[in-house]
């Protein structure tokens, strides 16, 4: 009895896979990633390419490396799953932890080094994935909370390009907030 119910489950899955359209994304460094079309369409950029009928073989993404692309695909898959059967365009990407069940997953997802975070922002922007862009930008903003300009410079390795006079002026403008 148990085995027959298991086989029913397996065959349903197979049916699903056969009906799901796939699309291939090619990274800047030549790696190909096959994903469900519905997952790929979490990206508005890719969605337009597919809808315009230009996605015959592979969709080249010359601005995204394989390392970043694999992460982006991971994000899209997870969020598509969580959204269930609904259209990507209808899924709401709220950062409110009480309504977004993926808050914990998202928090872990962005625990990456700065180079990766930076590249994720650029990729999310290029691929037009609102949720990922919101998440990554919010992460960067949170990294600045409660920090003085010098602390922010240290966190983000930014060179101070102010002259000493400009610096004095700038310091005067900000000093009151931290007493």
């Amino acid at each position: 009895m148990a085995s027959s119910s298991t086989s029913v489950v397996v065959s349903n899955k197979e049916k699903e896979n056969k009906n799901t359209k796939k699309v291939t994304l090619k990274s800047s460094d030549g790696e190909s990633f096959e994903v469900d079309e519905s997952v790929a369409m979490e990206s508005q950029t890719i969605k337009h390419i597919i809808e315009d009928g230009c996605a015959n073989n592979e969709i080249p993404l010359p601005n995204v490396t394989s390392g970043i692309l694999s992460r982006v695909i991971e994000y899209c898959k997870k969020h598509k799953e969580a959204a269930g059967e609904s259209e990507p365009s209808v899924t709401s990407y709220t950062s409110n932890s009480t309504t977004n069940p993926l808050t914990e997953w998202d928090t872990e997802f962005v625990k990456v080094d700065q180079n990766t975070l930076f590249d994720l922002i650029l990729a999310a922007n290029y691929l037009d994935i609102k949720g990922l862009l919101d998440l990554t930008c919010k992460t960067v903003a949170d990294m600045m909370k409660g920090k003085t300009p010098q602390e922010i410079r240290e966190t983000f390795h930014i060179k101070n390009d102010y002259t000493p006079e400009e610096e004095a002026e700038v310091r005067k403008e900000n000093q009151w907030a931290f007493e």
Binding site: T65, F118, I121, N125, M144, F156, Y162, E173, W176
Partner: protein, 314 residues
């Protein structure tokens, strides 16, 4: 992408400062004013990106002004619209009284000397000495920030013995001008003052209004009527909030005891159709005595780049 090549060579320096402006603005949009001020001071590229976001914050803060408390030595507290407190030391306000507040600037009177002060960057602009060394009941306003060419200041003063007097100062002038006043009837204690349409409006605490035309240099007295739908009666495009501090339960929000008395300078707040005048307010101690006497002023956070050495004269 050439940037990844650059990164391998120079480490992480230049990574974030090279973020395109449109993406920087997405990050900036998620920062509060204080974080923005820090962001603004990091480097030149980030400074440019912060400017737009700062204007947005200023716009939203138009509806809910911040509150500055002072009066006990130089230690001052600034509360934002959600009650968050920032502490700063402003020695200039020690022994002084704020008499007007507009667009982030406050007009301060200190025993005869008068100056403009911008608390968000500790900027001070001295103006010519005021003719009176002591102020009793008064209402004051200025037309625009003191850094603007057309800034005019007007102070209406009411003295029990000598009655009303009006002093006006134009940007660049090195002395206050005392204006000739006609007799006022039944105008009581002054409660607020604003500037609009080349006129200064001085309100008493009940229903009298004195308008001063900057062009004609004349005063006209009016009586305010409520809800009159007559076409012959002029409509005043302002609404007054007379007990703003009390109605918002501010003593509790600021953690002040009931036996504290506080003297408050108002401001003007923008609303969709009508501007709201937050009137000057005297909040008494709830007990028979006062444990502390504090001063406060409603202020709208504004952020602008101030070049050093600002002066009243041209």
């Amino acid at each position: 992408m050439t940037s990844s090549k650059k990164r391998k060579e120079s480490g992480m320096t230049g990574l974030w400062s090279g973020l395109p402006a449109d993406l920087l603005s997405l990050i900036v949009d998620r920062l509060g004013l204080i974080e923005l001020l820090s962001f603004h001071g990091v480097c030149k590229a980030w400074r440019a990106a912060a400017s737009t976001a700062l204007s947005k914050i200023e716009a939203s803060a138009n509806h809910k002004p911040w509150f500055l408390i002072y009066g006990e030595n130089s230690q001052c507290h600034l509360y934002n619209e959600s009650g968050r407190r920032y502490t700063t030391s402003i020695p200039e306000l020690d022994g002084a009284t704020c008499i007007a507040s507009h667009q982030g600037w406050i007009l301060v009177f200190k025993g005869g000397s008068m100056f403009f002060y911008y608390p968000f960057s500790h900027a001070k602009i001295d103006i010519p000495t005021f003719p009176l060394s002591v102020l009793s009941n008064h209402a004051a306003a200025f037309s625009s920030p003191p850094t603007t060419l057309e800034c005019i200041v007007a102070v209406m003063h009411r003295d029990i013995m000598s009655g009303f007097s009006l002093y006006v100062l134009q940007r660049g002038a090195n002395a206050w001008a005392k204006c000739e006043l006609v007799q006022f009837y039944n105008v009581r204690e002054l409660g607020s003052a604003i500037y609009g349409n080349q006129n200064f409006y001085f309100f008493d605490k009940i229903n009298k209004l004195i308008t001063f035309s900057v062009k004609d240099k004349t005063c006209v007295q009016h009586t305010l009527l409520k809800n009159e739908n007559s076409t012959t009666i002029k409509h005043l495009p302002y609404v007054r909030s007379k007990s703003h501090f009390v109605r918002r339960n501010m003593k509790k929000k600021l953690g002040l005891d009931e036996d504290v008395s506080i003297s408050i300078c108002g401001t003007v707040v923008q609303n969709d159709s009508t501007d709201i005048i937050i009137c000057n307010e005297e909040v008494e101690s709830a007990e028979e005595f006062e444990s502390r006497y504090l001063k406060g002023v409603w202020i709208q956070p504004r952020f602008f780049h101030l070049s050093p050495n600002q002066s009243w004269s041209f």
